[in-house]
Symmetry: C2
């Protein structure tokens, strides 16, 4: 089959690498809003041809939307307007509720698959594409009861080919989960980066002294606003709840620290340590 990738950055580019390695696609065609990224993706051999968005929508037996979620919101209804009954359109964005709402009544809704591969890095663009990025990770598949069986089959073939495991849920469940296991981590990392930089500007050479623990905790703070502002915007209510839960637990820790309550600190840390059994 022909697979179209719209968006040739970290996610689109990584799909291109693994789909090519899996031999699933007869042809990989790609489109990107940035001519530089499109040219670079061609140079890197991520796709066989660079085409326009319209051509990508027309050519793909499967069309993967791997652009920021505000761009997906603009692109998906347009894709469904012209989709044929033998095509499958798959979005790979990090939010789902607003998108689900936007196409709920579309006559071609059943050609669409809502998917979120829980894999990524803090980097962006075609050069950030990684072989094996998805291997052993999970793709969250949403509202599949609204998608045609053959569209589901095509999507599962593609995700299986790159090594993803499947989880099935509603858009609403997705956005609640994602707020905690993905979006909140980004907020925490951004706030950590901001706090440390505030101190660094006051005269401390903080980053020069940092070890691997700080680097690990702050890594996601390198993630770009073009991707993350729309995610926070679209999943605002759930992210707000997650941030408030985080601030509340942080406050408990702070109060135990301020009170010099070692027993309480130990209890909180033991509870936090339980993440070792869960990950």
């Amino acid at each position: 089959m022909t697979i179209s990738l719209i968006g040739l950055g970290l996610i689109g580019g990584s799909f291109a690498k693994d789909l090519r390695a899996a031999g699933l696609a007869d042809e990989l065609v790609g489109a990107d809003a940035s001519p530089e990224h499109a040219a670079r993706a061609l140079t890197l051999g991520l796709v066989d041809r660079v085409v326009t968005v319209e051509e990508a929508l027309a050519l793909g037996d499967a069309v993967l939307l791997a652009v920021p979620v505000d761009a997906i919101m603009a692109l998906l209804p347009r894709a469904l307007d012209t989709v044929r009954a033998d095509q499958t359109v798959i979005d790979l964005g990090s939010t789902k509720c607003q998108l689900a709402e936007a196409v709920r009544e579309h006559p071609n809704r059943e050609r669409y698959i809502a998917a979120h591969p829980m894999a990524g890095t803090e980097n962006a663009g075609p050069d950030a594409a990684l072989s094996g990025l998805f291997k052993g990770k999970t793709v969250l598949l949403c509202d599949l009861e609204w998608s045609a069986p053959d569209a589901c089959k095509t999507a599962l073939e593609i995700f299986h080919a790159v090594g993803l495991k499947f989880e099935f849920m509603t858009s609403e469940q997705h956005d609640r989960h994602a707020a905690y296991v993905s979006h909140l981590s980004h907020v925490a990392a951004y706030a950590l980066s901001l706090a440390v930089q505030t101190e660094e500007k006051a005269g401390y050479a903080v980053p020069r002294l940092a070890g691997g623990g700080f680097a690990s905790t702050v890594r996601l703070a390198k993630s770009a606003p073009a991707m993350w502002v729309p995610i926070f915007q679209q999943n605002r209510e759930h992210v707000l709840k997650a941030v408030d839960a985080f601030a509340a637990r942080l406050g408990e820790f702070r109060d135990a620290l301020a009170a010099g309550d070692q027993a309480r600190l130990e209890t909180l840390i033991r509870e936090a340590n339980h993440i070792r059994d869960l990950l």
Copy 2:
């Protein structure tokens, strides 16, 4: 020379591995409060002999204290009581001010080196010891003007042998820096783990769905209370300031999110992204 390691866990064990590889020690002897850890360290070949703490203090040309900071606080004055003029006692703990205060007036103060290698993992015990853990990392050396020149030379030889770079500062500067670049990261990770587990208990299979970003951000939440409660206790004032700075920046992010202020979110994320240039 003979090097004594008191504490045969992650830090002591990793020093043992790299010092042996560097060929710096004629003999490596070790002591550990846990007989199981001591026996395991011997089985793993981390040390040549397991001895008592008293023997370790007597035998080492250099004595490395690699135990939790509350244990260092109890051990260091005792070590200086019996130290000979040809011995060097080096503490490897994560806090320095209270320790500096405790031995400031000790007649053998100059045989002591206050050091903090900015390297570690979330794991503990002899099996957590890693070859190369310190390579390319930084050791913060504190108040060296109070240490004898030959003690400084011995310490720098040992740290150079395992690949550490040197930074020199006061205990006070150390504890302020460490609050931001190390201790705060742990508080943030603990709070993230607590927040996510709260949600998971409410019925969401959060950890099963998490990707690599969450794992990276929450990693330090696996760190043990036996090590971290004493650190938070000893560096309470600086950690409280760091946590408050973190909570304030988190609050800014939350307010921008609640207000749907995309421009403000973008500004905050761009500022946070600057960590990319600093690490």
